[in-house]
Symmetry: C2
Subunit: 334 residues, 2 copies
C-alpha cells in the first residue's frame, strides 16, 4: 500500500485534518501550509483512498449499469455514451451482464447495493416487481433506458417504438409499397416487440391496407432468426414487395436469405431495418433503417442519473427522436 494521509501529515508536520482540508479545497489553512502539504503529497506520491472516503461520505462516485448482453451492438453503444458522461463527471461505471436472467439480475442488484453505488441504469429489459422492490429498497436514483414501466415511477429515456415503427412502415407505403411483410421481434416482448407491431399495424390501417397474417412472422431480434423468418415468408408463397424488420440484425438476415434466393434488393424487394447499428452501413447493399441515437441515449441517461444523484430531485423521462436513415435497400416496387 502507498502512503496514507497520516504519513503525509507527519512528514508535513501538520495534522491529518489539515491535509484533508487542502485535499478537498476547504478553507482553513495558510497559503504556506498548503504549499508545504501539496509538496509532500507530490514527493510521497500520495493518493487518497477512495474506499475510505466512500465509507465516510456515503458516496462512491460509482454507478452500476445493467445490460442483457454487454457485447450486443446495442448495449455497447449505450455503454459508451454512459461511460463518456460518467467519466466527465468523475464517476466510474460498473458493468453487469444479466443474460436476461432473473436470478443473475437479482444477484447483481445485491452486489451493486453492497458496493454502495450512487445510482443505477437499467437497460432494455422489463422491470419486474422483484427488481423494482430491491431497487426501491436501495433508495438511490435509477434511470431506465430503452425500457419503461407504467407501474413503477423510474424516469426513462427511450425512443417511441410504436411511433418509429409507424414511420418505417409509412415510409415503405409512401414509396408505393402495399404488400409489406413484417419480421417482428420476440413474441410477447412488451418493450421492443409489441409496440413495433402496433406501429406497423396502425400505419397499414391508416393507409387502408389490410393486415395479413401471412405476411407477418416472429423472430427474436437476432440475425439467425431473421434468416429463418425470411425463409418462412418466402415459403408461404404470399407475394410481398417490402419487409419491415424490427431489428437490423434480422433485416440483415433477411437480406442474406434474399441474396441466396437470387432476389435482388432493392430492385425486387425492399427491406427496412431498425436500430441503425454499424452493420447497417456495412451491409451490401447498405441498409435503410430506423435510427435510435444510442450513444446520445447513453449520455442522456448518465446525465439524468448524475443530476438526480447530485441534486436529489427526480428528473423527467425523455423520448428521444428516431429517424429514418435512407440507404440502398428500399426502392419503389416494380
Amino acid at each position: 500500500m502507498g502512503p496514507t494521509i497520516k504519513d503525509v501529515a507527519k512528514k508535513a508536520k501538520v495534522s491529518v485534518a489539515t491535509v484533508s482540508r487542502v485535499l478537498n479545497n476547504q478553507p482553513g489553512y495558510s497559503e504556506k501550509t498548503k504549499k508545504k502539504v501539496l509538496q509532500v503529497i507530490k514527493e510521497m506520491g500520495y493518493q487518497p483512498n477512495a474506499i475510505a472516503r466512500g465509507l465516510i461520505n456515503k458516496r462512491t462516485q460509482t454507478i452500476g449499469v445493467l445490460f442483457p448482453s454487454v457485447s450486443s451492438l446495442f448495449s455497447s453503444k449505450v455503454l459508451h455514451g454512459i461511460e463518456h458522461i460518467a467519466h466527465e463527471r468523475d464517476h466510474s461505471v460498473i458493468v453487469c451482464n444479466t443474460d436476461t436472467d432473473g436470478k443473475r439480475t437479482m444477484k447483481y442488484l445485491q452486489v451493486l447495493g453492497e458496493k454502495q453505488v450512487d445510482g443505477i441504469i437499467f437497460t432494455s429489459e422489463v422491470l419486474t416487481e422483484d427488481y423494482y422492490r430491491v431497487l426501491k429498497a436501495m433508495n438511490i436514483p435509477v434511470i431506465l433506458v430503452s425500457t419503461f414501466s407504467l407501474r413503477y415511477p423510474f424516469p426513462y429515456v427511450k425512443v417511441d417504438d410504436k411511433h418509429a415503427a409507424y414511420h418505417a412502415t409509412e415510409y415503405l407505403i409512401k414509396q408505393g409499397h402495399r404488400k409489406i411483410a413484417m419480421i417482428s421481434g420476440t413474441e410477447g416482448d412488451e418493450i421492443a416487440g409489441t409496440p413495433r407491431i402496433e406501429g406497423y399495424r396502425e400505419a397499414l390501417r391508416d393507409y387502408g391496407i389490410p393486415f395479413q397474417e401471412n405476411l407477418f412472422v416472429f423472430g427474436d431480434f437476432g440475425y439467425r432468426s431473421g434468416c429463418a423468418a425470411m425463409k418462412k415468408l418466402l415459403e408461404r408463397g404470399e407475394e410481398f414487395t417490402a419487409v419491415f424488420a424490427a431489428s437490423d440484425e434480422m433485416a440483415t438476415g433477411a437480406l442474406s436469405v434474399a441474396y441466396q434466393h437470387g432476389i435482388k434488393v432493392p430492385d425486387q424487394l425492399s427491406i427496412i431495418g431498425y436500430d441503425n447499428l454499424q452493420i447497417a452501413e456495412m451491409s451490401v447493399p447498405p441498409l435503410t433503417t430506423v435510427a435510435q441515437p444510442l450513444f446520445e441515449m447513453g449520455k442522456l441517461a448518465a446525465e439524468m442519473l448524475l443530476t438526480m444523484i447530485e441534486t436529489g430531485v427526480t428528473v423527467e423521462s425523455r423520448i428521444m427522436p428516431h429517424s429514418i436513415i435512407e440507404r440502398q435497400t428500399v426502392a419503389k416496387p416494380l
Copy 2:
C-alpha cells in the same frame, strides 16, 4: 441507509464480532446463535457494506479494464468474456474508455488506483513507459490483452498476429492465388499492424511470390479506410485476384467497394478478413476470415488476473489459437 452490523448485533443480542463471524462463515459460535443471527439479518434485510469491508480487507472485489473504445465490436466481446468470469468469481468490473488518449488513460489509472481495484486488464494498446510506471507503482496484478510488451513483464493473452497473417496469406496461396493484395492496419502499429504485414510478406516469400508495393496499402482498421484502400488498389491498375485485409471492418469495406464496381466476390476477387466479428457472418456474401477467440480471450485474461490476485503468483502469458473460418468470399482464381 439500511441497517448496519451494529443494528443486527443489538437486535440479536450478540456482539458485532459474532455477527461478523457468522457473516463470514468463521468458526466461533453455537448453532443456536448462528440461527438467531441469520434470522435477524433476514428480518432486517441487512446487507453488508462492501466499502467498509474493502477498507479493512484491502480487497475490493473489483477489477478495472481499459479499452480504446468500449463500443468497438472487438472490445465488447472481450469485455463480455471478462465480465463473465469476474462475476463467476465474485468480482465487479469497472470499464474505462481511453479513446487511445494518453492523458485520459493516465487519469483512469489514477482513479482505478484510488478506488483500490484488485487488478487491471489493459487491452489493445501499446504499453507506454508512463503507463507502466503507474501500473507498477500500484503494485497489483496486471494482464495485457491483445497487446504485449517486450520491455515490461506483464503477462499477456493474445493471438500470434504474425502467424495468423501468415496463415491467411498461405490459405489464399493454396487456393491458387499469386496476385494477392494486402490492406494493412494502421502504419506503425506495433501490435496489430506490423506483425500482420510481416506474416503476409513471409508467406509470400516462402512461396516464392515477390512482394509488390503496388498491391499493398495502409488503412486504419476501420470500415471507411477499407473502402478507401480498395479504391486505391483498384485505381492503381495493378491486377490482383485476392486481398487479405487486416480487419473484418476493412474487408467489409473492400467488399462494398468491389460490389459498387461490379466486381463479383468471390468469382472475380477473393477476400479474406481478420477478426471474425459478427459482421463477418452477416456480410453478403459471408466473409472468410481469421478468427480470434475474443470471448475466450476475455475469459482467460480474467481468470489469469483473478488467479494472480488470489495466489499472488505470476502467471504465464498465453498465445491463443487462431483459425481460419471458411465462408464464401474466397475461391480459386479464374
